[in-house]
Structure formats: structure tokens, C-alpha cells
């Protein structure tokens, strides 16, 4: 595509696709609701330093174990007197970036493997796919735990571990898409499409490529948040005193008879977040299903 007019022409279809997306939003409530929810969660993460009433790390031993709706502490305080609400809000700043990075690792890593595998074919494809199968031979959480066990506990290693677990999914997806792309190029080359310009092919290609990847990103984001929470709960992810939801459940579980909110609120936060991403991925998948579009 060294031809400038062709490039411009090729970019055109993207505009035409955006309008159907707005149509989709109107007719598909689940997608809109979950998309709004996810956006809100991102907003909370971004705005936490501003909207949190207290410093999440500030301890205040005199004010420990305050119940919810106490003055100054909407959700109460934990065993060290830290404000629960602030810690929950800041928790979003831990969970969401971790999910982001993990998905990015999976997408980039898996994407590279998938592209190489798809384009090269032959022996390279065979070998790479065996590697992917080897990764898939481990149940997801076990693999993540094993990697964290090897690298040592901590948020950074948790991100890497979860990302590695996500790689096979993306690798297979990208490989399948590349194989489709190869077929289409071949068809163009044989001119059996007649005088169809490059832009039409891309107009079909971009929705075909983007849709499954968007769905996969959404669903793997949900899985990543869940995995991060699990790792942190086990003590393998975020370490005290970082306000991480999973880790907060871990400490909170020791105080269930005292103050159950310390464990329940972060649990609800995790569930809600994962639910939003899962719902988004699910409803996107249903909405973009070509079979249902006729």
C-alpha cells in the first residue's frame, strides 16, 4: 500500500462502520449498560485521588473498626483505622491497571505468536502451536501461581503471570484471523473478485478482525481482574498495605465476627467490576454475531 490514494480510500470504510456502532448501542441495551458501567469504573479509578475522602494508607488506631455510616467514614474503617471507602476507591487504581497490563501482555505476546504462526505456516506454525498447547496444558490459575512462585510475590510479577496465561487465547485468535486474511489476499490476487477495490476488502476485514478481538479483550479483562484478586487474596499479588481488593478480603476474612464489611465490600467491588467486563464481552459477542445480524 505505497499508493497514497489507495490508503485514503482504504481508510474511508472506518467512518461508515462507526455509524452502525451507534445504532447498535441504541438497540442493544446490555452492551450500553455494561459499557457505561465499565466507563464509570475507569472514571472512579482515575478520579480516586480526588474523590476519596481520606488517604487510603493513613492509619488511625483510635478509629479502628468503625461501622458503616459513621461520621467521616461512609463505609466504616478497618482494623488500623483506615477509611474503607477510600481504600475501595483506590483499589480500582490497582485492579484496573493490572488487568490492562495483563491483557496487553496477552494481546501483544499472543498476537505476535499468532501472526508468526499464521503467516509462516509449516514447521514454524507446528512448533509454535505446540508451545501454545503446552501453555494451555496448565489450568489458568495454576500457571499464574507457578509463575508467581518462580518470580516471587508482588503486583508486577502477578501482572506478568496473568498476561502469560492470557497469551494462548490471543495467539489462537490472531492466528485464525491471519489465516482468513491470507485467504482473502489470495482471492484478490487471483482477481476472482473482479474490480473490487482494496477498500471494500478492508471494509469487510476490519469488522471481521476487530469484533472477535474486542470481545476477547473484554472477557480476558474480566478474567484478569479475577485472577489478580485471587493472587492477591492468596498473598501472591499486591502486598500489604497496598489497597487491593483481593488482599483486603484476605485480611478482612480474619475479622468476620467483628466487622464483616471489611471483607464483604471489596468482594462486592470485585464482583461488580468483573461482572461489568463479562457482561460487556458477552453482550458484544451476541451483538456482533454475524449470524444474528441478518
Amino acid at each position: 500500500m505505497s499508493n497514497a490514494p489507495a490508503v485514503v480510500a482504504a481508510l474511508q470504510p472506518i467512518r461508515r462502520i462507526r455509524i452502525p456502532l451507534l445504532e447498535l448501542a441504541r438497540t442493544h441495551r446490555r452492551v450500553t449498560v455494561s459499557a457505561v458501567l465499565v466507563a464509570l469504573l475507569f472514571l472512579v479509578a482515575l478520579a480516586a485521588p480526588v474523590i476519596a475522602p481520606h488517604d487510603p494508607l493513613a492509619t488511625s488506631p483510635d478509629n479502628s473498626y468503625l461501622p458503616p455510616l459513621s461520621p467521616g467514614h461512609l463505609l466504616g474503617s478497618d482494623e488500623l483505622g483506615r477509611d474503607l471507602l477510600s481504600r475501595i476507591l483506590w483499589g480500582a487504581r490497582v485492579s484496573l491497571p493490572v488487568a490492562f497490563v495483563a491483557v496487553a501482555v496477552g494481546l501483544v505476546g499472543g498476537g505476535i505468536v499468532g501472526m508468526l504462526s499464521g503467516y509462516a505456516g509449516g514447521i514454524a506454525d507446528l512448533l509454535l502451536m505446540r508451545l501454545i498447547d503446552a501453555l494451555l496444558a496448565f489450568p489458568g490459575l495454576i500457571l499464574a501461581i507457578a509463575i508467581v512462585a518462580a518470580l516471587g510475590p508482588g503486583l508486577r510479577n502477578a501482572m506478568i503471570a496473568i498476561g502469560v496465561v492470557a497469551i494462548p487465547g490471543y495467539a489462537r485468535l490472531v492466528r485464525a484471523l491471519v489465516l482468513q486474511l491470507k485467504q482473502m489476499e489470495f482471492v484478490t490476487a487471483t482477481r476472482s473478485l473482479g474490480a473490487t477495490p482494496m477498500r471494500l476488502i478492508l471494509g469487510h476485514l476490519i469488522p471481521n478482525l476487530l469484533n472477535p478481538i474486542i470481545v476477547q479483550i473484554s472477557l480476558s479483562a474480566g478474567f484478569a481482574i479475577l485472577a489478580e484478586a485471587t493472587l492477591s487474596f492468596l498473598g501472591l499479588g499486591a502486598q500489604v498495605p497496598t489497597p487491593d481488593w483481593g488482599q483486603m478480603i484476605n485480611t478482612g476474612s480474619g475479622f468476620l465476627d467483628n466487622d464483616p464489611w471489611l471483607a464483604i465490600v471489596p468482594g462486592a467491588a470485585i464482583s461488580l467490576t468483573v461482572y461489568a467486563f463479562n457482561l460487556l464481552g458477552d453482550s458484544l459477542r451476541d451483538a456482533l454475531d454475524p449470524r444474528l445480524r441478518s
Binding site: 496444558a137 490459575l141 501461581i145 518462580a150 516471587g152 487474596f233 492468596l234 468482594g267 464482583s271
Partner: protein, 314 residues
């Protein structure tokens, strides 16, 4: 059929090889010298070198790998760094508890999933269906350790019906055993229930659209007969796949649940060993988890072929 099995086994060999390499690398990626852990205080260079020689850590990596692989294939998974107990025995002691937990959890998930999934499919689009589907997404979104904690809070701490952890062997006291396994099984099984329900539902919906359902109705079969005799057998075939994989992944699910409920199983052993830096034990458990998962994958395909008379892999 046998050719199919053989072919799959052959394809599994390179994957199994890569898996063993990966697990072996676990120890060598991890920071910290196992010798230091064993020796503790006495860290003279000679003592360290001595331990290295004993553990074979002075040899080149690939040699270590081959030695390790040889031992592993014979069932010798080494010894626990902390307790010096053979790893295979340590795992063997705790495996029954994990299996019990996993099976009860699976039972729970199927008891919930199959009826709900069938109802949701038959009454597709109705309120019951939408509620059930909503619960499904929620079920996979709530972390299973959180479900465990909520269950503990409601049923153990507040209502004091169930104990909040621990284990009593079945042989010792069947009633107490069951009483202890119920909560962790529910916690573990709920995510599986959600997945299985959704799968049953979509499988059932697809089956109900098939022509032979119409034929059955034309014969004068009632809806009950159509669903339970004609549809269910077909719809459950793919569900077997999912269930088989869940059986293969027992250890994975058990890790967190056993931690929450202090259940003396393999999962909890894994977590404890990680914190103890007991890498041989971790290695052994990861290896077991990976191979049981791979075995489950193969078995599931075989069972699927056996169940569906149409499939012949000749």
C-alpha cells in the same frame, strides 16, 4: 478408535515434553538458593557447595533436567525442602481430600446447572430464562473465595449451622465429613454451576431446533417426553466435555477454596509450599495439575466420540 487414541497420544508427546521443561524451569527461575533454605544459619561456602553437590545443582542445566525427568517418570518427585518428606507421599496424603471436595463441588454444580439450563432453554426468552442467564454471568464474576467467605459469614459465623473449616475423614465420621465438605463444595462449585448451566442451556436450545424434535412432536410425543427423552441425551453430549475438563482442573479450583476453608488438600499444600519456598513440592503439584488436565482433555474427546454414535474416528 484405537488409531485415534494413538494419534492423539503421539501429538501429546511434544506438548508433555514442553510441560516438563516448563515445570523444571520453575525452580531455576525462582530467586533464592534452595541450599540456603535448607541450611538456614550455617552458610559457609563449603556447606553450600556440599548441598549443591547433594542436590545435583552443580551439574549443567540440561543434565539436571534429564536426571530430574528420569526420576519423575519413575514417580520420584524428590523430597520436600522443608519437611524432607518425599513429595509423592506428601501429595498422596492430601489428594483424597481434594478429590472429595472436587467431586462434591461438581455434583452440586450439575444438580443446579442441568435442571436450570433445561428450563431456561425450554422457556427461552421468558423471565425465568433472563433471570437464569443473568445469574450465570454473575456466577462466573464472583470470585469463588468470596462466595466461600460470604457462606462462612452467613452460615457459620452468624447462623452457626456449618463449621467454618477443617476436615473430618469419611471413615472416621461420615456425618461430620459431609457437614464439613458442604460449604467449600458450594463455594467451589458455583462458578462451575454457572458455566455448566449456560452450556446446558445453549446446547439444549440448539438441540430443540433440530428436525428430529419436530419429528418426535409429529409422532404425538408430549413436550415432557421430547425434552427428557429426545433432547436431553443429545444436549448433554457437549456438556460432558465441559464436565470432563472441570474434573481435570480440580486442583486449580481447589487452591483457593482449600485456603479459605483450611481444607487439608493439595491446593492448600501448594500455597503453603510457595510461601515456604518449598519448590520441589510446588513443582510436583504443578506437574500433577498439568498432566491431569491434559489427561482429562484426551479422555473427554474419547468419551465424546463414544457417546455420539455418529462420530467415528476410523
Amino acid at each position: 478408535m484405537t488409531t485415534y487414541i494413538l494419534r492423539r497420544l503421539v501429538l501429546m508427546v511434544p506438548v508433555a515434553f514442553l510441560v516438563t521443561v516448563g515445570v523444571f524451569m520453575l525452580i531455576h527461575l525462582s530467586p533464592g538458593d534452595p541450599a540456603l533454605i535448607i541450611l538456614g544459619e550455617d552458610r559457609s561456602p563449603q556447606a553450600i557447595a556440599q548441598v549443591h553437590r547433594e542436590l545435583g545443582l552443580d551439574k549443567p542445566l540440561y543434565v539436571q533436567y534429564v536426571i530430574w525427568l528420569g526420576r519423575t517418570v519413575h514417580g520420584d518427585l524428590g523430597r520436600s525442602i522443608t519437611t524432607n518428606q518425599p513429595v509423592s507421599i506428601a501429595i498422596g496424603e492430601r489428594l483424597p481430600a481434594t478429590i472429595e471436595l472436587g467431586m462434591v463441588a461438581l455434583l452440586w454444580s450439575l444438580i443446579v446447572a442441568i435442571p436450570l439450563g433445561t428450563i431456561a432453554a425450554v422457556r427461552r426468552g421468558s423471565l425465568a430464562d433472563q433471570v437464569a442467564t443473568g445469574i450465570t454471568v454473575a456466577g462466573v464474576s464472583i470470585p469463588n473465595f468470596f462466595i466461600g467467605i460470604v457462606l462462612i459469614f452467613v452460615l457459620s459465623v452468624t447462623l452457626r449451622i456449618f463449621p467454618f473449616g477443617g476436615y473430618v475423614p469419611f471413615a472416621q465420621d461420615p456425618f461430620e465429613n459431609i457437614r464439613h465438605v458442604i460449604l467449600p463444595a458450594i463455594a467451589l462449585g458455583t462458578a462451575g454451576a454457572a458455566i455448566n448451566m449456560r452450556f446446558t442451556r445453549s446446547s439444549m436450545i440448539e438441540v430443540l431446533n433440530h428436525d428430529y424434535i419436530r419429528t418426535a412432536r409429529a409422532k404425538g410425543a408430549s413436550w415432557r417426553r421430547v425434552v427428557f427423552v429426545h433432547a436431553l441425551k443429545n444436549a448433554l453430549i457437549p456438556v460432558v466435555t465441559i464436565v470432563g475438563l472441570q474434573i481435570g482442573g480440580i486442583i486449580e479450583g481447589a487452591v483457593v477454596t482449600e485456603t479459605v476453608f483450611t481444607w487439608p488438600g493439595v491446593g492448600r499444600l501448594a500455597v503453603e509450599s510457595i510461601f515456604d519456598r518449598d519448590y520441589t513440592v510446588v513443582q510436583g503439584i504443578v506437574l500433577l495439575a498439568a498432566f491431569s488436565y491434559m489427561a482429562a482433555n484426551l479422555l473427554v474427546d474419547i468419551v465424546y466420540a463414544w457417546l455420539d454414535p455418529r462420530i467415528s474416528y476410523a
